[in-house]
């Protein structure tokens, strides 16, 4: 029923368009910092751990770069970032909409004749589904740079070996696969917290509980969907 209300015809497209741009700024652009920070450290740690665990003369050193790249592309830039965004963006969506519910702001929208579910949730879905794949690509790039930095700073392998590995057997489909996954995660991160916030009853305590619950459900759903999508797209 909520999904039906979300996707019903907007009252005025220009208002929804402006709100979508604002949501891109609030939910997407404001997440650039955390995504960049997490990605650089993940890239660095993956590279270090791979290098320390592949101490075999039969395995070429450039395999460290290849492993770091594919791990970032296939899993970390999408699923790990999605879990972080579920915490940051998901709880923000849930608490924002939940607070609007308990302070009667949603009732005020309904009384005005505004489809509150559509007005509040649809721009968030569009913004996240559009912008989160960009964050994924950014995470891939920064993660790979993070690995390269530890090669320079800690000399775990030579930067030349790392760059060779990064370039070796590159499969562009992995980027597509990761972006598709992230679009589905973005839908989950937008709708599940919105649902919990929209139907919250009570006061600030319940808003907090709804926010926590939404992050937990989002995380479980993201990991479950990860298995399904991987089977569908990579098998």
């Amino acid at each position: 029923m909520l999904v039906g209300k979300i996707f019903s015809r907007p009252e005025k497209f220009s208002i929804y368009y402006r709100k979508t741009l604002r949501e891109i700024e609030l939910l997407g652009l404001n997440s650039l910092g955390i995504v960049a920070l997490v990605s650089v450290f993940i890239g660095a740690v993956i590279t270090m751990q791979t290098a320390y665990n592949i101490e075999n003369p039969f395995i070429p050193r450039y395999m460290v770069g290849l492993t770091a790249r594919d791990t970032m592309l296939l899993e970390f830039a999408s699923t790990m970032i999605a879990l972080i965004l579920a915490g940051k963006v998901g709880s923000s969506i849930s608490s924002e909409i939940g607070t609007m519910r308990v302070t009667e702001q949603i009732d005020a929208l309904e009384i005005m004749g505004v489809n509150s579910a559509g007005y509040l949730i649809l721009p968030k879905i569009i913004a996240n589904v559009f912008f989160f794949p960009i964050l994924t690509i950014l995470s891939m790039v920064i993660g790979v740079i993070g690995g390269w930095m530890v090669c320079i700073l800690l000399n775990v392998i030579t930067p030349e070996d790392y760059i060779s590995g990064i370039r070796y057997a590159f499969i562009p489909y992995y980027i597509f696969y990761s972006c598709v996954k992230m679009m589905i995660y973005a839908f989950i991160i937008s709708t599940v917290p919105a649902y919990h916030g929209y139907y919250v009853e009570g006061g600030s305590l319940e808003v907090g509980k709804a926010s926590t619950r939404s992050v937990v459900y989002c995380s479980i759903l993201i990991l479950s969907v990860d298995v399904i999508i991987t089977q569908l797209l990579l098998s």
């Binding site: 009252e11 609007m100 302070t103 009667e104 009732d107 005020a108 309904e110 005005m112 004749g113």
Partner: protein, 250 residues
């Protein structure tokens, strides 16, 4: 005119509104009074369709509102202005954006026209130079005034107020009451006010409906209240020691 016919509202086994029928006339301040938990807010929310009644009809100028589909109800709602207990201003918008929001959504006015209308509405509620303040920067009374300005921005036919004086000092309450009354007469609106503030009742209660345990116990004007023989109404109106003394003198 708003009319409710034989409304029943139940939550599970609990009946909150029990066969309520009333007519709220245009151009008058219609007050619904009653103790906390008597069903006032449920009645008001049922009238605007935020709660679905179990039985009965709600008519806005003879159109059966609760039988309309989603889009039909939306059309009627655009003619309703509502003031909520906590003002319900949008936190993410400043005062100007709050008052402009209904105009943005439902009018084809250009930006200049909308700004003029916003300033007119804010002036009408005696607010100036607050356009760029956020709701968090306003006092309780100012929030109510902004809520009134937002409610009248689209020239509504109906104005519904849920405890508009809640949390305000007596003087500010009177100012808000008189403002609502003036606006009601000026725009010939059908106004329903939910309150348990006796000052409001005696100040602007042109028609007063007293609800007790989910049913209408008494109806009359503010002047009739003072001479009412209804025990429940007396207990409500003259609840304080001072009130009982006044009643004994009368």
């Amino acid at each position: 005119m708003i009319e409710v016919k034989d409304i029943v509202m139940s939550f599970g086994n609990k009946t909150v509104l029990d066969h309520i029928s009333a007519v709220f006339a245009r151009g008058k301040t219609n007050l619904i009074i009653g103790r906390s938990g008597s069903g006032k807010t449920v009645l008001l929310k049922s009238i605007v369709g935020l709660l679905q009644v179990t039985q009965g009809e709600i008519l806005f100028d003879n159109i059966v509102f609760n039988k309309l589909d989603f889009y039909g109800q939306k059309e009627i709602r655009r003619q309703i202005g509502m003031i909520f207990q906590g003002s319900a201003l949008f936190d993410s918008m400043n005062v100007e954006q709050n008052v402009m929001f209904p105009l943005d959504m439902f009018s084809d006015m250009d930006l200049q026209g909308k700004r003029e209308r916003v300033n007119f509405c804010l002036n009408r509620v005696n607010l100036e130079n607050v356009n760029h303040l956020s709701p968090a920067e306003l006092s309780g009374g100012m929030k109510k005034r902004v809520a009134i300005a937002r409610a009248i921005s689209l020239n509504p036919k109906y104005l519904l107020c849920d405890e508009p004086n809640s949390g305000l000092d007596p003087q500010t309450s009177i100012v808000i009451d008189n403002l609502i009354k003036e606006i009601t007469e000026e725009y010939n609106m059908t106004t329903i006010i939910n309150t348990h503030d006796m000052n409001s009742v005696l100040e602007i209660g042109e028609k007063v409906t007293y609800i007790h345990e989910g049913h209408i116990e008494w109806e009359g004007t503010k002047d009739d209240i003072l001479h009412s023989q209804n025990q429940h109404l007396d207990n409500f109106v003259f609840a304080s020691g001072m009130g009982r003394k006044i009643k004994s003198i009368m």
